[in-house]
Symmetry: C2
Subunit: 318 residues, 2 copies
């Protein structure tokens, strides 16, 4: 017996086979190459069919899918803002058509990340923990008393929209204040803004065309002591610290796990982020929480998806 965990991201699909004991047996990825709408659905079902074929012996008994957006549980459709045409995509139906009687469970990436870390990663043993995912965008998977916070309409955890900056600016309209300043996209954007405002700069970031600068470039320049990069990352540390402080004051969690593509390189900033959070947060709560780096890294999604699958067929001992 085995289960399949699928992690559909904005640029690739990863699929991993897990044993009944929860060990990852094999994994593979397929790039989206800018595909849209039903082409992406087709890639997912192809990958699932391939695993069903090649794993006929071990017998896949359930499938979990992690999607980059909202899983509408009642309708089985998915809203994924970064996949064109996925406003209300009938993913569950398409998968059920190829999976027959094998149960399929779909959930948001936020939910899968914290479920994965809670099952096999940094949040093991916690009942109240939060995964702060900082990648292209920002989201939070929030576990309260062993249950995912979903909200009245399945869109809780949209922490990228957190108001942190005192006065509203129009540039926050498309993505929210926190995401504007401290996501992967945000790091690149804020850096470009600073470079445009700075006339006397001739540091390493000036070697690149402004539009080509990425968050990775900013971290690389930061490591080399670049002043602009330092300013950008210091600002991020401030916003990450404030956001974490707000999670601590509101949720009084046991752990906050920092993950996503930016953590990654930003993992080195966790001590400074903690120091910033210390200043703002409820002073008792802040002593009761541990702020840690994701242990599953880029695999948090497939682990969470596999957990959904396993849980759909049997009770799981965490």
């Amino acid at each position: 017996m085995s289960v399949l965990g699928i992690d559909l991201g904005g640029t690739k699909i990863a699929a991993a086979l897990f044993s009944a004991a929860g060990d990852m047996v094999s994994k593979e990825s397929v790039a989206l190459h800018g595909k849209k709408g039903s082409e992406v659905g087709g890639l997912v079902t192809e990958l699932v069919e391939k695993f069903l074929r090649t794993s006929a012996e071990s017998g896949i008994t359930a499938i979990g899918v992690c999607v980059p957006g909202i899983s509408r549980i009642s309708s089985g459709t998915v809203w994924a803002p970064n996949i064109p045409g996925w406003d209300d995509y009938p993913l569950l139906k398409e998968l059920q058509d190829v999976c027959g009687s094998i149960p399929v469970v779909i959930d948001s990436d936020r939910a899968c990340y914290i479920l994965g870390e809670n099952w096999k990663g940094a949040a093991k043993g916690c009942s109240d923990a939060i995964y702060l995912s900082v990648g292209t965008g920002i989201g939070a998977g929030i576990l309260i008393n062993d249950t995912i916070l979903r909200g009245a309409h399945d869109i809780a955890g949209c922490i990228g929209w957190m108001a942190l900056d005192g006065h509203f600016k129009d540039k926050y309209i498309p993505c929210g204040c926190f995401e504007y300043h401290a996501s992967g996209e945000g790091i690149a954007k804020v850096c470009r803004e600073l470079l445009q405002e700075t006339t006397e700069y001739d540091g390493i970031l000036s070697d690149k065309a402004l539009d080509d600068i990425t968050a990775a470039d900013v971290f690389s320049a930061y490591d080399q002591g670049d002043g602009i990069a330092r300013e950008v990352i210091d600002q991020c540390i401030r916003f990450w610290g404030m956001a974490i402080a707000n999670l601590i004051s509101l949720f009084n969690p046991e752990k906050i796990i920092m993950g996503g593509g930016v953590f990654g390189p930003a993992a080195r900033c966790i001590p400074e982020i903690k120091a910033e959070a210390d200043k703002w947060a409820q002073p008792i709560s802040v002593t009761q929480v541990s702020i840690e780096h994701s242990r599953l890294g880029g695999d948090a999604g497939v682990y969470g998806a596999a957990y959904l699958a396993l849980k759909s067929i049997k009770p799981i001992d965490k």
Copy 2:
């Protein structure tokens, strides 16, 4: 059959008798007059004994108590920062000593406010709703899927500590950023700061000694078109709007109820607060929430306490 709801505040104790159907039958209050420690405990038990005596006929079958701080459920002790000597006060034991076999349930004011509004007030029928209490301090009672959010150590909902202002200031240390700017105490404090900074002011607030200015004075001056008062309240509206936006983006609730002593006079600002929240919050979530004024007003605490009591003895149809 009846139940007793007790609301222990920072300045008075209110007690109300409720019928089994949940109707308030009678109510009375006792001022604390600056009493401390076990004197306050004595006032609570005296009031309970009096109700037990005078209601012998109707038969009080359970007692609920709303406390201004943290109810440590496992130990039955209470931390109430505004009652000197109540760091770990054994309220449950003291009450059990006078109540005998009658069950006693203690919970925080935040929890009681949202439970009361959910039972008989503005949040009736909701499974996911938040009570934002703005009085001397600020707190939030958060109902998720019909269950109070407690956190890992019973101190969730400490929204007064919410970081909203971009850069930390030392003045936030004792109470938190949001509470500093937008609580009842905060309104008075910010107004005093502005008056001290403004040399040319001779408006109505200059009739009062600086230290005597209260939030009520600021609202009264605001109603009379005073410029400083307008500035203070406008700043509060901005912070209230940001905080509500953050609750919307994180919790995706059905309703947010504005209550506490400041709402009261600030109820008139709710349309402006909504407009501010609209700018910051997750754009889908913000269309799914209703922001409303408390319907129970100063009685939210006794209603919530009575609900705790009733629920301890029978299932309640909400």
